[in-house]
């Protein structure tokens, strides 16, 4: 019998066994699966979910001054801000802050551009839904108080 013929078979067989050893070792180690939703997923602090408005610590109102820098910075035009000056206030406040999450690419340019750090990323990662509408029109003012919210509710 040819020497290299037998040798090829032997080395081939050995290489196959080496591979099988790797899979067997893996099988005996513990899996790394996180069984979400039975276990909570670890979300890092920097996690970029959809954006949300930051509330002012003093009065609980949104810090946003409705300058529209975020809307201008957005590459996909998914932010719409309207604001007005409440009576007696120095700064404008948002009356309308709508995010179209369906076109948002989570780039963070709006957060970057905000002059008063009034936008931040949400750490909400379980965002799946059955309908488009809640995502196409995310009313960010819902979570944060605004001097105009009650007024808006009247409409």
């Amino acid at each position: 019998m040819n020497r290299s013929y037998a040798k090829d078979i032997a080395t081939g067989l050995a290489s196959l066994l080496t591979g099988m050893k790797v899979t067997m070792t893996t099988m005996l180690t513990k899996g790394h699966t996180v069984e979400w939703p039975r276990e909570a997923a670890q979300v890092p602090l920097m996690f970029r979910g959809h954006i949300q408005l930051v509330a002012n610590k003093d009065n609980g109102f949104a810090k946003c001054i409705a300058c529209g820098a975020c809307a201008r910075a957005c590459p996909s035009n998914c932010i719409e801000v309207k604001g007005a000056k409440p009576e007696g206030a120095k700064k404008k406040s948002p009356t309308f802050f709508m995010l179209d999450f369906t076109t948002c690419s989570l780039c963070g340019l709006c957060v970057e551009s905000c002059p008063v750090v009034a936008i931040t990323f949400s750490r909400d990662y379980a965002l799946a839904g059955f309908e488009l509408q809640p995502f196409a029109g995310m009313d960010l003012l819902k979570d944060v108080a605004s001097p105009f919210v009650e007024e808006r509710n009247d409409i």
Binding site: I9, T23, M24, T26, M27, T29, G31, T33
Partner: protein, 320 residues
């Protein structure tokens, strides 16, 4: 009286075989997914039933409830016939398989021959499936399946022959009995055992020889166009076929139901699932062999070695 016993026996056999086929499929698919999962740092199915055991049942129910799509240009009779031709022979092939001294659907003097012959029908089913659905991927898959038959079938037979020489019978039960007072034949015939292992992997279209359905090349190979229940019939046939091949392997080489402490059927099943596990282990470790490489492997390595092994065995037997 004898007539009635025969009828009862036949009915029991049919029931038993159906149960074996069904439960085996449920268990093996679950096992395969578990093995695959754990070999890949995953968990496999966990949700349905204890440890996900009923996952296959749920999947089966889903498949049954799905619409069967007939391609417009398909050859409908052949399209329908193909999965049936795949499945029925493996049912029949379970007839002569002995699970213990007494548990056997039908004792045949030529049981081994029957199983080997029926094994070829599986390829016919694949060919029909590939041809009937008028899909180019399916046709390629089917032609691959047909092209490889001889490459594994001849070494397979040449591996069985030494066992026939050692035991002197074609009956599966007799072969096990012949191992009762001697060692298991795997120890007499390690080369034949190894080649048989490779050959049944080829025969059952399992990875690394799964070119008939080669996912990354042929989408799903011969069953590309099959959906719903007809797809699951192929699936059922594949896993039952694996079961039969493993059962024959344990009868031929590992002494069938023989073993200490446990009753016969337990040993038999243990051995069968040992083989099935081996085949899963292969599948989840190796890349796929190319068609021509498999052919040259079959003809240039398996065939000469198994032939040599057979001649050697025959020579030694004659000398003794």
């Amino acid at each position: 009286m004898i007539m009635e016993i025969t009828i009862v026996r036949t009915l029991l056999s049919i029931l038993g075989i159906t149960l074996v086929v069904g439960l085996n499929a449920v268990f093996v698919v679950w096992l395969e997914r578990k093995v695959a999962g754990h070999m890949q740092y995953r968990l496999g199915p966990t949700e349905v039933g204890p440890a996900g055991l009923l996952q296959t049942v749920a999947d089966g129910l889903k498949l049954v409830s799905k619409q069967i799509i007939f391609p417009r240009s398909a050859d409908t009779p052949i399209f329908i016939l193909a999965p049936i031709i795949c499945l029925v022979p493996v049912f029949v092939a379970l007839l002569p398989v002995p699970f213990s001294e007494n548990i056997q659907a039908h004792e045949l003097d030529v049981g081994l021959l029957l199983v080997i012959a029926l094994g070829l029908l599986n390829t016919l089913g694949i060919l029909l499936a590939g041809w009937g659905c008028d899909n180019k991927y399916a046709l390629l898959g089917a032609s691959r399946a047909v092209a490889q038959i001889l490459a594994y079938k001849i070494p397979l037979l040449l591996c069985i022959l030494p066992i026939i020489l050692l035991s002197g019978t074609f009956s599966l039960r007799e072969i096990v009995v012949a191992q009762d007072h001697s060692l298991w034949f795997a120890l007499y015939q390690p080369v034949a055992f190894l080649i048989y292992l490779v050959a049944i992997t080829m025969e059952t279209n399992r990875s690394p020889f799964d070119f008939a359905e080669a996912e990354s090349e042929l989408v799903a190979g011969f069953h590309t166009e099959y959906s719903g229940m007809m797809f699951s019939l192929f699936f059922l046939a594949e896993y039952t076929y694996m079961f039969v091949a493993a059962a024959i392997a344990s009868v031929l080489f590992l002494g069938g139901w023989l073993g200490p402490f446990f009753p016969g059927p337990v040993w038999m099943l243990l051995k069968i699932y040992f083989f099935l596990f081996l085949m899963m282990w292969f599948r989840w470790t190796f890349p796929r062999v190319r068609v021509d490489q498999m052919l040259s492997f079959g003809w240039k390595i398996l065939l000469p070695i198994s032939l040599l092994n057979f001649l050697l065995t025959a020579g030694v037997m004659a000398a003794l």
